[in-house]
Subunit: 678 residues, 3 copies
């Protein structure tokens, strides 16, 4: 007996780009709700996310249910032609749960209780919490499973609370027994021979709590794995309750962007629809940073989804959780929304529909801001709705990338322990720098798990994967041997799955692929310090420098030194190398080159692998992405930009035809249907 | 039956400026005390504050009393002609209280106990603490109520300890029941519909403890109100015990300057005498900052007192709680003391008489420093005593101000929650900048509560009142309508008394007064960033800039744009406006102008309102204030300054007559009796 | 009956410089151990420290013993001719101890438990911990006392964990009873009259826990004394158990360098061998800082040992606990090791032999690094072994210094309380600046306790001793009276042993010696601020400045003002003075001069006292030290340096003879046997 296939995002979109946002009508008198629906229709909204934080309203006292108000909300939305993404309210338990069951409250590393009064105050290991969460979820599914407005289930919200309490400790021990089977295996994996940490009894094991000095790094790594899994158990339990009752409604939970707390590859597999919340900073001087960050998150989310995905939350204006919260300059919300569609989004939603007047997020913008329907924000929201309406044909279409950046949460987690060569080397820093270099070079890329099939990619970039499993190492070797191009960053392949250093400091298989011999020393750079590089050919410009990291290593015969260190202790030693291996090529970057040098190196490697931008001659700041037979052009600068077109094309946003060039205004965008090649 | 009128500060001064300080003879052998009294007489001291930290000495074991040493101290002071300000010792309970009654110790937000070993370690909600405090207070009053040296009661010391313990939680719930009557009202006020925070039972409510994310801001606001009230209950209970026993002795408690933890308006109403502790930083580069800060605190304290007040603590030299504690350059103690008298003080006291040789404050200066009577400090103390002796005629006289700055602790508290547009916008920053601009323009001002009668003021300045009640808004409108001039700063009138955002983002009544329409966006500036301004007339100089904050708002017809934003996203939009309303005028400053521009704008508004400095042509750095028919001239700079006099005048400090000018030396001061106008 | 004399370091060295490191074979399969011994022999290793973190391996369950593996390790080392420094494993109790006896875990100031999972997680006051520690210690001594490889006992590791728990509180009270005898004496010493802290019962006294404000400084001072003593009790208990069982094996415990947590004078007296761990930062810009820091620690350790000492731990490459961990440039490990020998070390050891592949210190270097025997690190390790082999004749020989720097942990601890004139004035800052000035002037110095016999020193330097006992003050006066030269830094002699300020702010005896009268004010400088100085002679150069501190004080007749303050509040007042007293001279430096000025002043004082460098004309960056008839020349710079020789000499490292000069390469060193004077 096989299960029926699960529904997908296409069952939600039904041929229209989804458009809408979180809708929390319980904050408002019923009179406001009719205006809400009218304004939603005016703005082209077709999806409202309801109930994310409604638990205390739905279950005012333990076991009671108050569904009447929600019945009316769903009926009203349905009457207005607006679909509903219905949330389980389990991210924020009512005060009565913490007051009556204090053991459901998390504790931090020091043992301090994390109280209610905010949100996300539940211990994922608590059976009491889980039981209450499943019961309200089941009751919601029973009541609204057949409601005609229901399109999508939204489970919980931004899962991410870690806990160090005793209930968690017992759960962690069960998880470790499953992972290791025996205490000997655990002791071996954790290296407890060091510092007298050998465990003689499972009951001795605790989460990594406040200690006198550095805590065992594998204990920390496993605790991060466990925490992700414990939260995932909460998710899958709710999902199963929903699937059982409403098999035709897909299920999602909204991720935080590039969030460390969940293993995004594992989580995405358990969802029908992958969705993400994305809040780039619109602060003026980092304008391009916002777009680069957006592109990274969108590429990652598309890769997790293996196809179209849903932008569950963004802001129509400022957020309220940064130090200084900048509004969005004119045009930016539209530009960034179209960027998401270009990179695979089939839906553009906001947190939240109507800006709150009370509570912790009242200065977080809404689609209807405090200024109301006559305000600047709502004007832009209406305009965006009209734009998206024109792009419905794109739903379901893929984005094809021939390059991939390898990414793995296990490697990320392993970098978070103390006691590494440099605390300036975060996991994200090289990852973001490399992705940005590819993005600025107009080389659309996916993200991929290092053990996944890579054969369809012409170029694989590994900015920094400190931890690589045996399977991943074999996978990389076989990829290059088969003709692929690998560009590998420093301090990669250093430890195995248990954070155990590979013999020789870097795995021998990887060194063979890269053509490097003895690795003598990691030689990190202080903040703000640079290391001049000497190009051995013309790949990188005079004046190029390395940052953040250096290494003292030997090359093997047959390895080309592309650039060497110039001056200092490492003067004359190889910095960047290129090595033919099997039918492919492997590059090694033992430093983080400055942005221009990094772009140049990645462009050369990509060019050798046969990759090039969608258009030649793209001006700086203009992003170009192909999706579903359309070419998206996105101007991230304040200055207008003119893009030469190889062939005439029509902008689907305006219906206008452009012959030789198209000029994009400040933050302007175009979605070109290209003429078939002559 | 009406109560007899309460005694006042005049009952303490009896025609002499009070002069003295905290006197803690229990730190010294009895032999030192005779020298103390002799030196006090030499210095002109007439008031000694005794017993502030004597609880453990007075009650060495629970219920015991040891008054003998204090009898002798009071007798000795009286014999020397020195009045006594007698303190209840309740700020610092003896170790036995914390050891025997650990529930009297505060707990912080994380639940950690705040132990004894320092001071101010009591939970204001603890019945055990309160009971012990009242008993020692009553016994002191019974024993010393008739002592001839007794002039003033000093209750506790710098009330300010907050607590998050369970006893406090129960007290907080009682306070909330009183405030709201019903849980529905509380849920509505706190906006608990957001984030599933609805309370179903009073017992669920707790203080805002350590949480996973931002805590409900109205819960925080109410907890700040509650904490001020809980401390005030402690004060009033002690006061009542004193008043009952010694009806002719006035009662005070010493405030910290511009202290966030007490609602200063409410507290001052409960005191017979308002007193404050003031410690400006004498560090060289901020010399004027110290004077500006002093002026602000003095204006506020005078306004709380509605007349003369008492400077209860200042330092004769360095303090010991800053990072680097600078001594006071020659002349500064005299200058700053005379500034206090100029701004309404009828007493100048120090912490403390004799510098400690042990304990946490042994490097806090005293009137008799470690260098002893031959030291530089005591020389200056003697000189100041002689100066003050000459000014006794001023006691009881008011300072008349025709401008007022509005200030409210509720607005301050509401700005302290997280999640606002910019965390750079503190409550104090615009308040201090505006007051300083008025002070530098020689425009003496009061502080006033926004609901108080404003009709006697020609100019009302509102630097930043994020929270304004309905009554305050009506008060402001009626003030302008009646012909007043209002200068209103940004992000004002945004929320109501429950921190609920007003419709449209700013209260509609206030927008009508100011002549502004839709408010589209708050547009804060990053630290160090400035926004050029374009003056539409000649009010502000070329090159003027805004800092900290900007707004995107519409003006209504009839509103004059005084200055516009120049360049950037807001280029060309109004920045500073002026609007005739009723018989008055309302200015709006949507940014914080640089100091010169702010002075120019406030001076113009003040000038239109008919206000001008006490003297024309005052040199920079010279403060001029009128009190009781005298003109105080205070030179805050190291360079001598010459002030032109419109008419001959006599300096009461020297008895010298000055015809056309008077020259003040470095940090020099003069108190001029002006000749009647010819 | 007298005890037999204790064995000494000479019993360990037996005529060879010790060379080796921590050896933790339990991290490795037995197969690796044979390679270890072979490599040790290749490198000239003759001492391995074993068992430091082996408790959980030796006692896998409470009361069990597993010695077999350790038997094999000792036999194997012995067979290879390598001596063993055997550690008691008590620095890191096994997890079962914390799990079964949570009262053995420390608690921090806030009451939070300090959990196991790292190391050093024991409460020194816990009888349960102490009992278990003694039992494993005794069993180790019983089993290995007669093992032929055993050379030295290594007790615990870097003692330093403080604890604030209730068990500690009771222990602290017992310690206080011993110190004070009566509560009255304690109340007097602590100055509890201030802030109502008087204790009425011993049971009320607690460690200085988290409080509302500054905690009583004498309570803090005593708690630091107590913590050092409580840890010392742990050490001496283990030592006694070892001495009883193995009277011929000397005992050490490894100190952290200039570590605040132990009273190093008291501790060193209880050891047979004094050893220290030393990890200078090899970061490029601070190259000389590393050498200066090393010289300081080496001088201090030699002074604690009163003769040769053991460098127990250094790093062969990078450590892993700094923010950025730099490897050591070529030659630095050799240079710094020879510096230690020059300054009295009879042994050079590393943490650790083989770099870990797991656990918290896997990126801390080892003598055999991850790169293995072919790596750069092991190559340098072998070379150093060969160099040290040539210097065996030096073992046991002293280093003679005719200058001493006074240092006392009590003074250090007293400076750690809050509420002093400037928190920029740490204890170490002047200490390090003064020692560095002496080091750069090639004036080899000891450290000495201020109460110790000083008559053999021509120059005594007191950079900053805030606390001086009566005995120390008398000692200093008698030293100068007897003809000595004292150079005394600011804010010295301010408090007595109880942190009670001396009358007049500085002890009268000291003021008499220094020739200073009233001290009016401490006048600290802000960070980065300087105070110009005016030289009254030609001692310091034009442009010299003071930093950190200034004072306003009077000189007595007969006191020479060497330099005065120039400009500012103190312009024209004395800054640096010189006073003939008895047969000697006393200098006073009331500010911290810039490095060149400080060198000039100390050189003049030293010159007057008859001290000069070992060689004239030493180039900058070349250190010269005499030991055992050899002259060590050490080039700390990257540039080669040529040193003129007064007479021909032979370099023992190379066997080469040098006539008129010797040239040292980058980081080069020479050990010259000087020809006898002609």
């Amino acid at each position: 007996m096989t299960s029926p296939p699960r529904p997908t995002l296409a069952d939600v979109t039904r041929g229209r780009i989804l458009y809408g946002g979180d809708y929390n009508p319980e904050q408002w008198p019923e009179s406001v709700r009719r205006e809400d629906v009218a304004l939603m229709r005016e703005a082209g909204v077709n999806l409202a996310t309801v109930g994310v934080f409604s638990w205390a309203r739905l279950e005012p006292r333990p076991g009671e249910r108050d569904f009447g108000w929600l019945d009316r909300v769903l009926d009203l939305l349905h009457a207005g032609g607006i679909g509903v993404c219905l949330a389980t309210p389990t991210a924020s338990p009512p005060p009565w749960m913490g007051a009556r069951h204090p053991e459901t409250l998390p504790r931090d590393e020091t043992g301090a209780v994390v109280w209610y009064g905010s949100r996300n105050h539940f211990c994922a290991s608590s059976p009491v919490y889980r039981d209450h969460a499943l019961r309200i979820t089941a009751d919601l599914a029973d009541r609204y499973g057949d409601h005609p407005a229901l399109r999508l289930w939204h489970v919980n919200n931004e899962y991410g609370t870690a806990c160090w309490c005793d209930v968690t400790a017992a759960h962690f021990r069960r998880w470790l027994r499953d992972r290791y089977g025996s205490l000997d295996a655990l002791n071996d994996a954790w290296g407890t021979a060091f510092w007298s940490q050998r465990y003689g009894d499972w009951e001795e094991i605790i989460p990594p709590r406040r200690a006198q000095y550095m805590v065992n790094p594998t204990q920390e790594l496993d605790f991060r794995r466990f925490t992700s899994d414990a939260l995932l158990e909460c998710f899958t339990a709710e999902r199963d309750a929903l699937v059982e009752r409403t098999p035709r409604i897909p299920v999602t939970t909204n991720f935080m962007p590039l969030f460390v707390g969940q293993n995004g590859w594992t989580w995405a597999e358990r969802e029908d629809v992958v969705s993400v919340d994305l809040y780039p900073d619109p602060a003026d001087p980092e304008r391009d940073d916002g777009a680069a960050w957006g592109a990274l998150v969108q590429d990652l989310t598309r890769s997790q989804a293996r196809g179209p995905w849903l932008l569950m939350e963004q802001a129509a204006g400022p957020v309220n959780w940064r130090g200084v919260n900048h509004p969005r300059p004119e045009g930016l919300t539209r530009l960034w929304s179209l960027q998401a569609v270009a990179r695979g989004a089939d839906g553009i939603c906001f947190f939240q529909w109507r800006q709150s007047r009370q509570g912790s997020e009242k200065f977080h913008s809404g689609m209807v801001s405090h200024a109301g329907p006559r305000g600047r924000t709502f004007r832009q929201v209406r305009q965006l709705g009209a734009d998206l309406e024109r792009l419905g044909a794109l739903t379901g279409s893929p984005v094809t990338a021939r390059a991939a950046v390898l990414h793995d949460w296990n490697a990320w987690w392993a970098t978070l322990s103390a006691g590494r060569p440099s605390n300036l080397l975060t996991y994200e820093r090289p990852l973001r720098a490399w992705h940005r270099a590819l993005w600025e070079s107009h080389l659309t890329c996916d993200f991929a798990h290092p053990e996944s099939g890579l054969e369809d990619y012409a170029l694989i970039a590994v900015p920094h994967l400190y931890l690589l499993t045996d399977a991943a190492l074999d996978n990389l070797a076989s990829y290059v041997r088969g003709g692929g191009t690998l560009v590998c960053g420093f301090f990669t392949g250093v430890v195995d799955t248990d954070d155990r250093v590979r013999e020789g400091g870097v795995d021998a298989r990887l060194r063979e692929v890269l053509g490097i011999g003895t690795v003598h020393e990691w030689w990190p750079l202080d903040e703000g310090k640079v290391q001049p590089l000497a190009s051995c050919g013309d790949d990188i410009a005079e004046g190029a420098v390395g940052t953040l990291w250096r290494e003292d290593f030997e090359t093997l015969p047959g390895t080309e030194t592309v650039a060497a260190y110039r001056g200092g202790e490492l003067g004359g030693r190889p910095a960047i190398t290129r090595h033919p291996f099997g039918d492919g090529t492997a590059w090694y970057l033992s430093t983080l080159p400055d942005p221009a040098a990094l772009r140049a190196l990645l462009s050369r490697a990509a060019g050798e692998a046969g990759l090039r931008p969608p258009l030649p001659g793209l001006p700086t700041g203009v992003e170009a992405v192909r999706r579903g037979g359309r070419l998206f052009l996105l101007n991230h600068r304040r200055e207008p930009a003119t893009v030469p077109l190889p062939a005439p094309a029509t902008d689907e946003l305006t219906g206008r035809r452009h012959e030789h060039t198209i000029t994009l205004g400040r933050h302007g965008a175009a979605v070109l249907r290209e003429a078939p090649p002559a």
